[in-house]
């Protein structure tokens, strides 16, 4: 064990995670806006430039931004090892990612070769550097908690999915081959490896924390992400070499996902803390959506209704991943604002009693309203995909846009509260 690397404080400067958290909702809003403008995109199926851009605005722009920001916050705090040059790393990473994603996604929507290449040139080195940095940090960690393994797997998946994307583009001469055979692998590693494993690893920590539930069973913590990694590898190998048995691995993956969702709901059912809590509601919506996503995926194996794929996508990305992350942000952001205010005031010998509490930093009423908007948008989007009527898509996209902007506004209130308080006590 390396004791000297350990200090257990090392909470990075507030700007390190916050710049990612505050930018992310803008990408989510951009996705909603894109759908509002091209409302017929949902009705023409998955494989269009608009859908490609929309999906990546959600996965890279919203989910990716928050996840990269959150990892920089979590590593030093929960894993016990500080990042080197946190401010410089986060500034560079944020700039490269934000610009890279914007260019890449615009390139997708307009099928512009130049923008695709430019976006990739910014994004790929940034993510590769990030992966290596985090692996190095995890390797130095004294913690043996299952979250460490889950994070390492998530980053491996990010490497694989980025590698596949690059390979497909290079092979196709940067002309987007939308329904390339390798696209399935890209989606699988992205959805289950990168997003799935990271959210599983974070759940091990935050589900027992936020609602005071029992821990995930040791067996689950020890085996779930290992199995996920193993089956993803088998699945990829079979897809490339023996396609006739791919279905077996796919059913195993669905089973693992289902196990995680049901286990989480079961733990939350035994929660000691039973107060109304918006993060909890977001998480129940997330786990319910994940279970439904497995169901619609299963149905898609038997029924040849092309919209089922889209329904599964909406359930997984918007219902599961976006909801879970949206809910967590309402705990992480106000807490970090409080923590940094407290540290500032304490180190200057001031009185801590006047520091606003978490429920004052981001008002609960506002978070509750945003939750209702998000749920309504999700429901309506699912309906819209099903009925394929353009005006319904428009209304759903409009609600989604308002919800995303509201999320951004609420998070911004947290930061403004921070600045306002520091000015008030003469430290701003």
């Amino acid at each position: 064990m390396n004791y000297t690397a350990l200090s257990l404080s090392q909470t990075p400067p507030l700007s390190v995670p916050l710049r990612f958290f505050l930018t992310a909702p803008l990408f989510l809003a951009a996705a909603a806006l894109l759908l509002l403008i091209n409302a017929d995109a949902l009705t023409v199926g998955r494989w269009s430039p608009t859908m490609l851009a929309l999906t990546h605005l959600v996965t890279l722009g919203f989910l990716g931004m928050v996840m990269v920001g959150a990892i920089q916050q979590l590593l030093p705090v929960l894993i016990g090892v500080p990042l080197t040059y946190p401010r410089l790393t986060s500034t560079l990473l944020h700039l490269l990612m934000a610009a890279g994603i914007l260019l890449l996604v615009t390139g997708m929507a307009l099928t512009s070769l130049f923008l695709l290449q430019l976006g990739s040139a910014l994004l790929l080195p940034a993510l590769l550097g990030f992966i290596l940095l985090v692996w190095y940090t995890l390797w130095r960690s004294p913690s043996t908690h299952a979250t460490v393994g889950a994070m390492a797997l998530a980053l491996f998946a990010l490497l694989v999915l980025g590698g596949i994307a690059l390979w497909v583009m290079l092979q196709g001469g940067w002309h987007l081959p939308l329904a390339h055979p390798l696209t399935r692998l890209h989606i699988g590693w992205g959805g289950l490896g990168w997003i799935g494993a990271l959210l599983i690893g974070v759940s091990y920590q935050v589900v027992p924390m936020f609602q005071i539930t029992p821990e995930y069973p040791l067996r689950v913590r020890r085996w779930l992400t290992l199995l996920l990694a193993g089956v993803l590898l088998l699945w990829s190998a079979s897809a490339l070499f023996i396609p006739s048995v791919t279905w077996l691995a796919e059913f195993a993956l669905a089973g693992l996902v289902l196990l995680f969702a049901v286990q989480t709901l079961w733990l939350q059912q035994q929660r000691k803390r039973r107060l109304a809590d918006v993060t909890f509601d977001f998480w129940r919506l997330a786990m319910g959506s994940l279970i439904l996503a497995v169901v619609t995926w299963l149905l898609g194996q038997w029924f040849n209704w092309p919209q089922l794929g889209l329904v599964t996508g909406v359930l997984f990305l918007l219902g599961f991943a976006t909801s879970a992350i949206n809910g967590m942000l309402y705990k992480i952001v106000p807490f970090l604002v409080w923590l940094h205010l407290n540290n500032r005031v304490q180190s200057s010998g001031g009185w801590q009693g006047s520091i606003p509490n978490m429920k004052q930093i981001i008002p609960v009423v506002a978070t509750r309203r945003q939750y209702q908007l998000h749920s309504a948008a999700l429901l309506l989007l699912l309906l819209a995909v099903g009925v394929e009527i353009v005006p319904v898509v428009r209304i759903a996209a409009g609600l989604w846009l308002i919800s995303a902007l509201y999320l951004g506004w609420n998070l911004l209130q947290g930061m403004r509260c921070y600045q306002h308080y520091l000015r008030q006590v003469g430290q701003g």
Binding site: M1, Y3, L6, S7, L8, S9, V77, L78, G80, P142, S143, T144, H145, Q205, P208, M209, F210, I212, K272, R273, R274, L275, K331, P334, F335, W338, L339, N342, Q346, Q352, G353, N357, M358, K359, Q360
Partner: protein
């Protein structure tokens, strides 16, 4: 023989008292709320003091580190005490909103603190303070509330 087990159990014991206090406060029965809050604070006080007066000094002596992890843990204990005071005031003023706002903040502070202790610090104690276990563990049991539970 470990420090991790009794200390982690005591975290869970405090968590239960915490959840119970919040529940009663939300119900607005202030007589019961005040009693429930007092029980929680009492258990926390014993837990924090057992660490500050017994386990941390032993760790600091064994490792030679006084500015390391224990100083950060002590700092977070002070932040918790600041929130205890806000919750005390909220009970006195019978303000549910103030209490539940402070308790929400305390929950996250306390949980991430506990996670660091259980995942990193206590395993270190188990290793470094193994030779003194016969002497320290009975003293620990006397100080924390959940020892007999």
């Amino acid at each position: 023989m470990s420090y991790s087990n009794p200390m982690a159990n005591d975290h869970h014991h405090c968590d239960e008292l915490f959840a119970a206090a919040e529940q009663v406060v939300e119900g607005g029965e202030w007589l019961r709320a005040s009693e429930s809050h007092r029980r929680f604070i009492e258990a926390m006080r014993h837990h924090l003091e057992a660490e500050e007066q017994l386990l941390f000094p032993a760790f600091e002596a064994a490792s030679g580190m006084t500015q390391g992890p224990t100083s950060v843990m002590r700092h977070e204990h002070e932040q918790m005490r600041g929130l205890f005071a806000q919750m005390d005031q909220a009970v006195a003023a019978q303000s549910g909103d103030d209490y539940l706002g402070a308790s929400e903040t305390l929950l996250i502070l306390m949980q991430q603190h506990n996670a660091k202790e259980e995942q990193i610090l206590y395993p270190m104690l188990d290793q470094m303070l193994a030779p003194q276990a016969d002497e320290l563990l009975p003293q620990l049991a006397e100080r924390i509330d959940s020892a007999g539970v």
